[in-house]
Amino acid sequence: MLAQQLTNGILLGATYALFALGFTLMFGVLRVINLTYGFYFSAGAFIALFATRAAGMPIWAALPLAAIGAGVIAMLIDRLLLSRLNRARNPELASLMVTLGGVLALYSAATAILGSDIRRLPPELIGAEALLIGGVRITMAQILILIATIVLVSGLILLLRGTRLGLAIRAMAERPDAAGLMGIDTRRLASLVSFLSGALAGAAGVLIGLNFNAIQPYMGEEMMLRGFVVVIVGGLGDVRGAVIAGLLLGVIEVATAGYLASGLKDAVGFCLLVAVLWTRPSGLFGRSAVRRA
């Protein structure tokens, strides 16, 4: 049973890590707490839902389509909400609030149009039976999430550290004004980062929706609180940190529910969050925040 619980924890953790990737990217680069991120997550799931149900697409086509679709939506909405905030006195607070209002409106509109019923992706899309590997049960959807997380994380790190584009993004994250002076088109780059972040959210939405088999407009909302825990504990803006923190959270939650009391499962994440914030707010891997003198 220990093996199964450990597997449960890692799989749950991979889910959290996958969700947190785009979120931490957005904050690390653009210094924006983008609460609309949860909406792009739901949007990706719905795009896949329509693609597979209405157009009969298989999963390997629906997934990229959903990611691209969510990325485009993200680019447009972020441009609408965030582009005016550069001049605000307190851009972090302002971005928090404007994305909060935006996501409230977006979720409500989506619920009004699509209804709040839970839907499933077509069951034939991916085998629902669990495979038995060495005494441990794991489903195809969960394997897909693991693979996707590994692929996306590697791809992201490769992009950021190995390409000129990644260099430009990192420059913008460090010093946006200097980056602008070096000839980097920060507005276009910001749009690109929005797109990437949204695409990651959308991909996560499809995979996680597939795994838990519950797609409804507010699904992004429910992941967001966990998302906060993961990005803070891992360090805002640190991709590696998000992955490790996600896995850690998953394992801790499952261990608490499995071996202590299941009622504490939700609280343990927040206790971890508060503990990290009190002792090392930059997170396990973030650079220590330097107070502006």
Binding site: Q5, L12, A214, V254, K265
Partner: protein
């Protein structure tokens, strides 16, 4: 002025296109209010209830009550917000001067709204509130929904008769209905002598139950009781199958599982689940089948237990108004106590404590292929 406002409100809100022009010569329509969840998550329950109420209203208003007067129903949306439910109740009583209120949808809301309505001595009838203590709120609070404490023991007994000796319980601990249902499950298990191997909890919005289910699986119980609303119940069942729970474990659901959405969301994973219900769509009697057909024709969907209970309740209210002889709340309340009505739910009377008196209609259902059938 009030009448015109009322007509406008009825036309806009009750949406019942079948209402003919209110005959002014026959006497003013009798205002009845309802508070249900019509938006947001959980709206499915409120919408089903509204459908049942309106269907019954159409039939009642063909003849009217008290010698031909029509009933004018105003349905307010509480959006599952305690505040809005209270405001709705105050508006219905203070502005629309309703003689009776039906609803609200959730037990949580009733705990907030009940005292307000009770204070004004207006009868309020819950059709879907099953938590403990509802009718303790006051002498004007009624309910037609069978409390879980009447239904769950029947289901457990059926499981026991099929050989279950040990049971694990899992429930949503952040929702009053689910917690209340769990209390009943635990008490039933204790009373019947079933050994409770473990008690696990989760949050209503959780999507991962693997830790709890793996733990339960390790203990190998004969049965697993799940007390939650239909969406988490479906999630639990889906994951349980993925983790290898098979036919050897008998899953038992509380009232939250008693919804056709279970089949839609959980699909084959829900097969074999037992749930007790005061009503069953396949009940063969003529009254029920007529209701099912009419509901399908009017709304395009199949009725569920919530629609059926609301349907009966509207008739019970109309009968009470007739029995009272006047559209006055203080006469309607004692008239309600004398209810003796047979509807789609079967024969119905109130106990002295304003709860449903008869548990004869309770059947144990089994989920099979996405539909409920009677469990043998």
């Amino acid at each position: 002025m009030l009448r015109r406002q009322l007509l406008a409100a009825v036309a806009a809100i009750s949406g019942s296109a079948a209402l003919p022009a209110i005959g002014r010569a026959q006497g003013a329509p009798i205002p009845v209010g309802a508070i249900e969840i019509l938006s947001g998550p959980n709206a499915a329950y409120g919408v089903a209830i509204k459908g049942g109420l309106e269907l019954a209203l159409d039939e009642i208003n063909k003849k009217g009550v008290l010698g031909g007067r029509k009933i004018a129903l105003t349905v307010e949306d509480s959006a599952a917000s305690k505040d809005q439910a209270i405001n709705a109740a105050r508006k219905l009583i203070g502005r629309d001067h309703v003689v009776t209120i039906i609803g609200p949808t959730l037990s949580n809301e009733m705990f907030a709204v009940g005292p307000v309505v009770n204070e004004r001595k207006i009868p309020i009838i819950g059709t879907s509130t099953t938590a403990a203590g509802i009718t303790d709120i006051g002498p004007y609070v009624f309910r037609t929904s069978l409390p879980e404490s009447d239904v769950v023991p029947v289901t457990f007994k059926k499981a026991q008769s099929r050989g279950a000796k040990t049971i694990a319980l899992i429930y949503a601990n952040d929702d009053a209905f689910s917690k209340s249902g769990f209390d009943v499950m635990k008490a039933s298990a204790d009373k019947l002598g079933l050994t409770i191997l473990t008690i696990e909890t989760f949050g209503s919005k959780d999507t991962d139950f693997s830790a709890q289910l793996t733990k339960i699986k390790g203990l190998k119980p004969d049965a697993v009781g799940i007390s939650a609303l239909v969406e988490p119940v479906s999630g639990v069942l889906l994951q349980a199958r993925q983790l290898g729970f098979g036919k050897e474990t008998q899953f038992i659901g509380g009232n939250g599982a008693n919804s056709p959405k279970l089949g839609v969301i959980a699909g084959a994973a829900a097969d074999g689940l037992l749930v007790g219900s005061p009503w069953f769509i396949g009940k063969p009697d003529a009254v029920n089948q007529a209701f099912v057909t009419a509901f399908k024709a009017k709304t395009g969907t199949e009725p569920d237990q919530f629609a059926a209970q609301a349907y009966d309740c509207m008739f019970i209210v109309a009968a009470a108004i007739d029995r009272a002889g006047a559209a006055e709340p203080d006469k309607i309340t004692p008239a309600l106590l004398k209810t003796n009505y047979t509807g789609v739910m079967g024969p119905f009377t109130f106990t002295d404590h304003r709860d449903p008196a008869s548990t004869e209609g309770v059947v144990v259902l089994k989920m099979q292929g996405g539909k409920f059938v009677i469990a043998k």
